[in-house]
Amino acid sequence: MEATVFVPIGLGLTVIGAGLGIGRFAAAAAEGIARQPEAADKITGAVNLPLFLLEGVAILAEVFIFLMLIL
């Protein structure tokens, strides 16, 4: 079997990982806001940056997978 057959499996794993990560972020932020509604702005601000870093890693993985498939 060709090696590129397994590349889409990697894409799926990336999506699972990123989804779990983002899900945990959202859950923690929602819980925090529910406990302290007055701190909503601060919590959103603190969640934003790691969220985008996580998203960046996922996107990087997708780009590399895409490159592997076309090259």
């Binding site: 934003n48 998203e55 990087l60 780009v63």
Partner: protein, 309 residues
């Protein structure tokens, strides 16, 4: 989208879909630029589709942002009105919620102009990618003026080569990230002096074996930051458009698979609502990516200024 008609008739639809999607999101072919300029110092300066889009974006930012701001500053009013009111809200949000918490009150006014420039440029470049002006022009050209797709001397046919999202091109975002890369260094140098800025890369006062691992990691991090910025913006802008086009191509694929027009039309009832939903998501992505780029630029600049190891 004219994705299906532009390929060669001898190929099957399945073989045409992939290249057509790539064609729609990538820059114009280097052998078919809009305007050919002979290479200077070994660099090809030909005007391609994305170069044209960069100019259009620069022009639009000029008339939509720079001119109103200049006009407001030269008038003696203290409160803005109309369009300028909206711009002020954005400017204030970026200064107070993005730049100030990251860079610190001392350097806000030094770095806000750069971050604002990034924000407006990326926002407009992303936003124009969502408006299918050239596709509409192409459809008008094809069906109203009856110009065949193979006519390579037709101006509008030439414009149709390549996508319209300039920020979906890795070279454009790499250029933007290079500005971030150097502004990180300039920020550190301005705040701590040249020697101290480089010393600040690694924390002080650790046992010496740690530095053997730490210094290469920090040096790598120096390049990984702008690289991640490049990839994030370009891949996000390209990815959404690929998803949209792939969904719309399903109509052609199903039509061919079952050898009937009805299958294609039937799939359209599913594919088009999903494509509309993805377009709505893309509008959010347009805003979020402009926000992310500015946020991360100010975070990186702030990391060079406020060293807290």
């Amino acid at each position: 989208m004219s994705a299906v008609e532009t390929g060669h008739a001898s190929q099957s639809v399945m073989e045409q879909v992939g290249p057509n999607i790539i064609h729609h999101v990538s820059n114009s072919d280097i052998s078919h630029p809009l305007y050919h300029i002979p290479p200077l110092f070994g660099i090809d300066f030909s005007v391609t589709k994305h170069v044209l889009m960069l100019w259009i974006v620069a022009f639009l930012v000029g008339i939509a942002v720079i001119t109103p701001v200049r006009k407001f500053l030269s008038s003696n009013k203290t409160t803005p009105s109309g369009w300028m009111n909206g711009i002020e809200a954005i400017v204030q949000f970026i200064r107070d919620s993005i730049v100030k918490p990251n860079v610190g009150p001392k350097w806000v006014m030094t770095w806000t102009p750069l971050v604002l420039t990034f924000f407006f440029f990326i926002l407009f470049a992303n936003g124009i990618g969502m408006i299918p002006i050239f596709d509409v022009l192409g459809a008008f050209n094809r069906f109203v003026l009856d110009v065949p797709a193979s006519d390579s001397h037709n101006m509008i046919n030439n414009i149709l080569h390549g996508g319209v999202t300039a920020t979906g091109n890795f070279n454009v975002t790499a250029g933007l990230a290079t500005i971030t890369f150097f502004s990180i260094m300039v920020a550190g140098t301005m705040a701590h002096g040249f020697i101290n800025h480089w010393k600040n890369l690694a924390p002080h006062g650790l046992a010496w074996p740690v530095y053997i691992i730490l210094i290469p990691i920090e040096l790598m991090g120096l390049f990984v930051k702008p690289f991640a910025l490049t990839m994030r913006l370009a891949a996000n802008m390209t990815g959404g458009h690929i998803a949209l086009l792939a969904l719309l191509s399903l109509m052609a694929i199903f039509g061919e698979m079952f050898h009937s027009t009805i299958a294609g039309v039937g799939v359209a009832f599913v594919a088009i609502p999903i494509a509309v939903a993805i377009s709505a998501l893309e509008i959010i992505v347009v805003l979020v990516q402009a926000y992310v780029f500015t946020l991360l630029t100010s975070v990186f600049v702030g990391m060079a200024i406020n060293v807290h190891h």
